[in-house]
Chain length 218, copies 2
DNA sequence: ATACACAATTATGAATTCATAATTCAGTCA
DNA sequence: TGACTGAATTATGAATTCATAATTGTGTAT
C-alpha cells in the first residue's frame, strides 16, 4: 500500500534555523549586533532549547558567532572574509557552469534565459531591487541545472555569508553595464553548452564583481 | 596591560561536536547505525542538552541524519553522494593549488615535500595506514599553504564525508602506483609554483581516484 | 562630578523535568 | 506456532529549572 506520504512534522529547531537564517541574510538582524535570544523565543513562541540549537547550527555556518557566557552575535562581514569567500564561490560556480552545460535540460536553459531577459529589462530601468532578484535567479538556475546537491548546498552557505554585505548593492553604473555584458557571454556559453567557456566566464564574472567592490571601498 | 590571554573555557557542545565528529569519521560510529545519544552522554559525562546541540550541528554538516522522533543516525555513504562530492572537492583543491603556488612559504613547500617522501617510503613498504596519513598531510598542507580559511573549512567538511568510506582504502596496487606518480607531478608543480598546473593536477588526481573507486565497485 | 565597590538583576550554559511518540514485550486468539 | 492487541517501557522533543557568569544599578568616598 502506498496511499499517502508519511506525515512529517518539521522539528522546531530546523524551522528556526531557516527562519533566523533569513532574518540574518535579509538584514533584519544586523551584522555585529547581538542576537536577542529571549526576544526571538517570544516572537516565535518557542522555548530557549530549540532556539539555542538553531543558533549553534547558524554559528557553524558562519552567520553567527557564539561568545562564551555572552551569547550569540550576528557575524560581521569583513573585507578579509570577502577576500577569502569570493574565490571559493567562483570555484564552485565554475564547476556549476561545467556541469550545467552537460546536464541542463533545454527547459532549464530557456528558463535561465528568461531570467536573463528580466534582468536586462531591470537594468534598462535601473531597478536595482528586481535586478538583484533576477540576477540571483540566474545563478541559482545554473546551480540547479548542474544537478549536484552537494555543490548547491555549499554554494548556498557561502552565498548567504556574502549577501549580507549591503554595500554590494552600491554598484557603479559603469560596472553595472559591464556586469550585464558579462551575463550576455554567460548565457551565450550556456546555450552553446560550452562548459569550459561558461565556467571560465562565471569565474571571471565573480572576480570582476569583487574587484569592483574593492575599488568602490577604497 | 596585556599579560595573558583571556581564559576561555570551550563550551560543552563545541567540544562534543569535535569529539563525536571524530567518532564518525574514524568509523567508531558506523554509517547507517543509530547514534546512541544516552550512551554517548554517559561516556562523555554530560547531559542530553549539549549532546543534542552537537548532533544538530553534525546533521547540518551531513555526517548525521535526524529522523523526527526516532533520533540521530550516522549518515550512509552512497555512491550517489560520492559522485556529487568528488567533483566539488576537486574544484576546491584546484583552487587550493592555484592559491598555494602564490602564497606558500618555502618552508611550507619543503614540509609538503617531506610528507611526500614519507608517503613514497610507505608506498615502497606497502604500509597502507601510514600511506594514507602522509597522503592526507600533503593535501592538508596544500590547503594550509593556500591561506584561505573559508576554503579550508569547506574542504574539511566535504573531506570528512568521504573519509568515512572504508572501501576507499581498498585500492589496487596498479592504481596505487599511478597515484604515487600523480603525486610526483603535484609536488613538481608546487615546487615550480605553477598554480594552473598544480590546480589541474590536483583536480585530475581526485577525478582518477574516483574513477578507480567506481571501477573497483563495479 | 567621577571613579570605585558591591548588591541586585539579568542572561547564559547546562541539567532536569515533562508530555508524547516510538518501541518492546507479555498475553490472547486463530 | 505465529500473528495480533494493548499495556509497559524507553526514547525523543521541548519546556523548565538551576547554578553561575555577566551586566546593571546604587551608594560611597575622593
Amino acid at each position: 500500500m502506498n496511499l499517502a506520504k508519511p506525515i512529517t512534522r518539521p522539528s522546531l529547531h530546523a524551522e528556526l534555523v531557516d527562519r533566523v537564517r533569513e532574518l540574518i541574510i535579509e538584514g533584519t538582524l544586523e551584522p555585529g549586533t547581538k542576537i536577542p535570544e529571549k526576544d526571538l523565543c517570544e516572537s516565535f513562541g518557542v522555548s530557549r532549547t530549540p532556539m539555542r540549537e538553531a543558533l549553534k547550527v547558524l554559528a557553524n555556518e558562519g552567520l553567527a558567532v557564539l561568545e562564551p557566557n555572552r551569547g550569540a552575535w550576528v557575524s560581521t562581514v569583513t573585507m578579509e572574509e570577502l577576500e577569502a569567500t569570493f574565490p571559493v564561490i567562483a570555484a564552485l560556480e565554475r564547476l556549476a557552469g561545467e556541469l550545467a552545460c552537460a546536464a541542463a535540460t533545454d527547459a532549464q536553459i530557456s528558463e535561465i534565459r528568461s531570467h536573463h531577459e528580466d534582468m536586462v529589462a531591470c537594468f534598462s530601468t535601473r531597478n536595482r531591487q528586481e535586478y538583484f532578484r533576477a540576477n540571483q535567479d540566474i545563478h541559482d538556475g545554473i546551480l540547479a541545472a548542474a544537478g549536484n546537491e552537494v555543490l548547491s548546498q555549499h554554494h548556498k552557505v557561502l552565498a548567504s555569508r556574502v549577501k549580507r554585505a549591503r554595500f554590494l548593492a552600491n554598484i557603479s553604473d559603469e560596472r553595472w553595464q559591464q556586469a550585464v555584458q558579462e551575463h550576455e557571454g554567460i548565457i551565450a556559453a550556456l546555450e552553446a553548452r560550452d562548459g569550459a567557456e561558461l565556467g571560465q566566464r562565471l569565474s571571471e564574472h565573480l572576480a570582476n564583481k569583487f574587484t569592483a567592490l574593492k575599488a568602490r571601498m577604497a
